[in-house]
């Protein structure tokens, strides 16, 4: 029940789905449709796991008065306050949307925008032509950086052309091979799961 049961469920649901998709028989079609629906329902109803974990982690910090527990307390109050606001007021509720648009959105956008600064310092710090590999990466990056902005064509029409060429030929080739290897890797993992060889999702006990 503890180990073989889940593996059996994995194999049965997986094989059933594959057969119903791959075999051209109208009798099998509802099977895949039903499994799709159940999948969606399971995913849609396990979402509280994240909230419970969040509550556990932060609640524990508050109870133990660990370093910075005050922030954990704020988090819990806002989390449950906001959930209650949404569930009581509905999605047309002005306060609910105002908080989302005027508090959450600016913070999130700003966090994302700090990446520009990290990218600048990472480029400065790391892009050194230490060896052949690094030099190639550096030259490709500089050509594309200048060639993809309006300034590039202002300097010389050859720069945007070079940037386009790098993106359309060597980059496409490299990325395509990465995608193809990734596809094979994913398929082999799926085969290992569906044949019951890969069981680490159950953890260790």
């Amino acid at each position: 029940m503890k180990r073989e049961g889940p593996v059996a469920l994995l194999m049965i649901s997986g094989f059933l789905y594959i057969i119903s998709v791959i075999v051209a028989s109208p009798a099998m079609e509802p099977v895949a449709a039903t499994l799709d629906d159940w999948y969606k329902v399971v995913v849609g109803f396990i979402n509280l796991v994240g909230v419970i974990s969040l509550t556990q982690v932060n609640g524990r910090a508050v109870l133990r008065r660990s370093e910075g527990w005050f922030y954990n307390a704020i988090l819990l109050v806002v989390l449950y306050g906001y959930i209650i606001l949404g569930l009581v007021g509905g999605l047309h509720n002005v306060a609910f949307n105002l908080i989302y648009d005027n508090i959450l959105t600016p913070i999130l956008m700003t966090i994302f925008s700090t990446l520009t600064f990290w990218i600048g310092s990472a480029a400065y710090r790391a892009f050194r032509a230490k060896n052949a590999d690094a030099a190639i990466l550096l030259v490709a990056a500089v050509v594309v950086m200048i060639g993809r902005v309006t300034l590039g064509s202002a300097i010389s029409p050859a720069i945007p052309k070079a940037a386009e060429w790098i993106l359309n030929f060597p980059t496409v080739a490299g990325m395509r091979a990465i995608e193809m290897s990734a596809a094979i890797g994913g398929i082999v993992l799926a085969l290992r799961m569906i044949t019951g060889l890969e069981r680490s999702f159950m953890g260790f006990d």
């Binding site: 049965i12 649901s13 906001y82 949404g86 913070i107 700090t114 990218i119 080739a173 490299g174």
Partner: protein, 207 residues
């Protein structure tokens, strides 16, 4: 300067968040708690109205689709992971999700991600009268082949295989350089919007 209270709040939030560029500080930690909480809360509420409520009241309540009890039961088992004794029950919903997930990979990925990509690489190695296209086709074919070789792990890379694999690494470095550069573009646009907000909407400069 703006007269809108929300612009002031937005400016405070923006500057407070940027403070992380210097060091971790209390203002940033409060903002962090705020956005974690609001995001998590938002997704709970959205999922309730967009999916859980219509499923429970509509399909189960009015539609009497009793078979839905099976996936709902599976989902409920997930919550046993908080129990020390019955945590293994949570493996069942996981196993179901992974079985379907594996089936998706096996039925949907090979063709668009592998076969179609191989097909798109089958290019003529001699384009009559067009030396440029000929060279470009060679570059793509050799690139795909050499990067695939780079990712062989159970073959000892010696002699020509090793050399070809090195070629693959050069392609990867070009691709990563291009990718890095391209990304700078995107990130800059996000920062630009924040600076426009601070300078124009809030301080009223350069309008």
């Amino acid at each position: 300067m703006s007269n809108d209270i929300w612009v002031w709040i937005g400016a405070f939030l923006t500057l407070g968040t940027y403070s992380i560029l210097f060091k971790d500080n209390p203002v940033y930690r409060v903002l962090e708690a705020l956005f974690v909480a609001i995001l998590a809360g938002h997704s709970v509420v959205i999922n309730w109205y967009n999916f859980q409520k219509p499923t429970l009241t509509g399909r189960l309540g009015e539609g009497k689709e009793w078979t839905l009890i099976i996936p709902l039961f599976l989902a409920a088992l997930m919550y046993f992971r908080y129990s020390r004794k019955y945590a293994w029950l949570a493996r069942y919903p996981m196993a179901f999700l992974m079985g379907i997930g594996a089936a998706y990979v096996l039925t949907k990925n090979l063709k668009p991600m592998f076969l179609a990509q191989a097909r798109a690489t089958m290019l003529p190695l001699w384009v009559p009268g067009n030396i440029g296209a000929t060279i470009n086709n060679w570059i793509v074919v050799i690139g795909v082949a050499s990067v695939l070789t780079y990712f062989f792990f159970t073959i000892r890379k010696q002699g020509p295989v090793n050399a070809f694999s090195r070629v693959g690494r050069i392609y990867l470095m070009i691709a990563f350089g291009a990718l890095f550069a391209d990304t700078v573009l995107g990130r800059v646009s996000v920062t630009l919007v924040r600076f426009q907000f601070l300078l124009q909407d809030w301080l009223g400069l350069g309008m």
